[in-house]
Amino acid sequence: MYRRLMQCLVRGAAAGAVSAGLLLGTPALAARTDIVLGIRLEPPHLDPTAGAAAAIAEVVYNNVFQGLTRIDRDGSVKPSLAERWDVSEDGKVYTFHLRQGVKFHDGTTFDAEDVKFSLDRARAADSVNPQKGLFEPIETVEVVDPQTVRITLKRPSGNLPFNLGWAAAVIVAPESAADNKTQPVGTGPFKLAEWVKGDHVTLVRNDDYWGEPVALEKATFKIIGDPTASFAALMAGDVDAFPLFPAPENVPQFEADPRFTVVVGNTQGKTVLAMNNGRKPFDDIRVRRAISHAVDRQALIEGAMHGYGKPIGSHFVPQDRGYVDLTGKYPFDPEKARALLKEAGAENLSVQLVLPPPDYARRGGEVLASQLRNVGISVEIVPMEWAQWLGEVFRNKNFDMTVVSHVEPLDLDIYARDDYYFGYRNPEYRALYERFVASTDENERLALLGTLQEKLADDAVNVWLFLLPKIGIWDARLEGLWENTPVPANDLTGVKWRE
């Protein structure tokens, strides 16, 4: 017995020494080439041309799939699969010159036919593209030669290069497009290695990548839905980075810890208390204005976001050109809110507030409900999972109020859509928006952006609450991660470990 015990101990010690040697040996070799990123939501599938969920773009945008153009970390438009483009005098014809030697992950060659296929598919009548509006101005897409594509527009649209940089406008191949939801085949620096549902998505380096080689060999997106677990995973080193950290109350702890870099940047997330304008009592502008007066943004940001988040007064983010500060339009004034409700004959309002899962919505909703009760509106909170929210609220428009963050950039178009979920139908606004889209004069465009924001605020369509902060927390030895989120993305092309 004794001898056997000794044998075990000796063997264990030997194994320990070997593994310790291995462990100690590793860091001397080279900097790490893998990364584990924490993401809050699992993508429903991996095809950005078939789903609006930001979680899709957060995994695949510019990693797996690329467009003719791309939107960079500062929100600017950069060439991607198109090296350059020319615009005709009248602003209606764009000629894109494509990059040579680009291959899809399955080995097929990228050329002008793929571009025509992708854009025609996105704007077809039966298209399931989540952003069909982006392609609406396109009249025709023609293949000039394998390296050149000519896009003719119905009317001038200065937004085209920016719009073609969206995740919904990425270029896919006719051979593989149908299976992109589960087996994405793109042109990017990474390709899908495995997707374990409910746990992680792993990408590996594409060695045939056309562009500058990327430093990372492997990137794992680990799905961690719970704020407490996110905190623990970072602290324990199970994840290297959380680009959108969900628990603002924990930020001071990470800031005090030298192992981590904390960057509080901007997103395009316009967080709104959306009201169903098509339904009583929200079809009455006095009710909507009353609710706007009832909301105390400062208290909301302090209570739900622990102070992180800039107040906004219309559907536009402060860091974009053309922003007009309208946060003072409906100052917090419970008395005025009550008076307006009385005037509208809506004194004993009883409404439901639907809340999707993110913490900004659940926590924000609790604070908002309390603020609305304060002016005599009785609020019932109805929590929903995303799938249910997308069905009930977004598609069926069966709701009174909800809290959600609109993360798409420059999406003033949603207020010009008759069928959009908050049911704002205003011909004046639509005419203004059409003028904005058609305009190619920069000054006129900026002026119109201001008018559009003012029109929305004046109509009190929704209560615009705050700009969702991008609280990024990652290992201090990592560099190259985006500090802001101009579009939903975790572009890993420039990410590497410091040696």
Partner: protein
């Protein structure tokens, strides 16, 4: 006759001499009294958010401090006691109301009917309250009603099995046979002889199920399937306090302790009642 009287007199005396019964009863009374008191008075309104006073430490104005929204923690604990008690009492009511008759029916009938009833119970028993609550969410939506029904359904087979098990041996006892010979029907015998003789068992089990109900309610609220804000709930307080552990650990400790103490109190009470009410255990002393 004289033996029964002696037993009754002994009961009060033995109760006073039974420490765990006394402690359990005292704790349960305090929790119940707190819940009742909160209907007429709490230090502050537990549903009112006052962001300007968030995360305040213990003070004369806020005995247990305030939470991340500036709500008074003591008031929330008091309000949470109501939620806890209401949900577990209704759930035990559902379990008693459905389970005991089913168990008695199965024991009285036996044969295929009894067999069918008990196997159906086994089937329901396979679903824990949490799974039940998730399944029922689509019908009721998350809320107090969902929690009550889910925990209640979970309680049904517990009481059905207890009643069945207790009733079976009683049916073979002499006084039951005498009643049958006298011409009483099954239903009447069940009501007049079987049920009264198992009442103490049911009371004890009900107390234990109350404590399980408190736990289950906290668990359901913790995962968001229980009562919805603004109604205070210990489980949700725990959930919300998780990420604040480093800043304000008391926000998790206070509701956690409330749950522990309440569950422990009800369990002690149940154990004590078992000792006091079960004649066999009483004789062994």
């Amino acid at each position: 006759m004289s033996a029964v009287v002696a037993g009754r007199q002994g009961l009060a005396a033995r109760a006073l001499g039974h420490p765990s019964f006394l402690v359990g009863a005292a704790i349960s009374l305090v929790v119940a009294a707190t819940a009742l008191l909160s209907f007429v008075w709490t230090p502050h309104d537990p549903t009112v958010l006052d962001i300007g006073r968030k995360l305040q430490p213990l003070s004369a104005a806020h005995w247990l401090g305030t939470d991340q929204y500036g709500r008074d923690v003591l008031s929330m604990i008091m309000g949470g006691a109501v939620t806890s008690m209401a949900v577990s009492f209704v759930a035990v009511g559902i379990g008693l109301g459905l389970g005991v008759p089913l168990g008695l029916l199965a024991a009285g009938r036996r044969g295929p009917v009894g067999e069918a009833v008990m196997r159906a119970n086994d089937f329901v028993f396979a679903f824990p309250a949490l799974v039940m609550a998730i399944m029922l969410r689509d019908i009721f939506g998350p809320g107090a009603l969902n929690a009550m029904v889910a925990i209640g359904i979970f309680n049904v087979p517990v009481f059905a099995r207890l009643a069945y098990g207790a009733a079976l041996p009683l049916w073979t006892r002499e006084f039951v046979m005498a009643a049958r010979v006298a011409g009483k029907g099954r239903g009447r015998i069940t009501l007049e002889h079987i049920l009264p003789n198992m009442l103490s068992l049911i009371i004890v089990q009900a107390t234990i199920q109350l404590s399980l109900g408190v736990l289950a309610e906290a668990a359901l609220s913790y995962v968001g399937l229980g009562v919805q804000p603004p109604a205070p709930s210990w489980g949700r307080m725990l959930n919300e306090a998780q990420t604040l552990m480093a800043i304000a650990p008391r926000l998790a400790l206070v509701p956690g302790l409330a749950i522990v103490v309440t569950v422990m109190g009800l369990n002690l009470l149940g154990d004590g009642l078992r000792d006091l009410l079960d004649p066999r255990l009483a004789r062994e002393r």
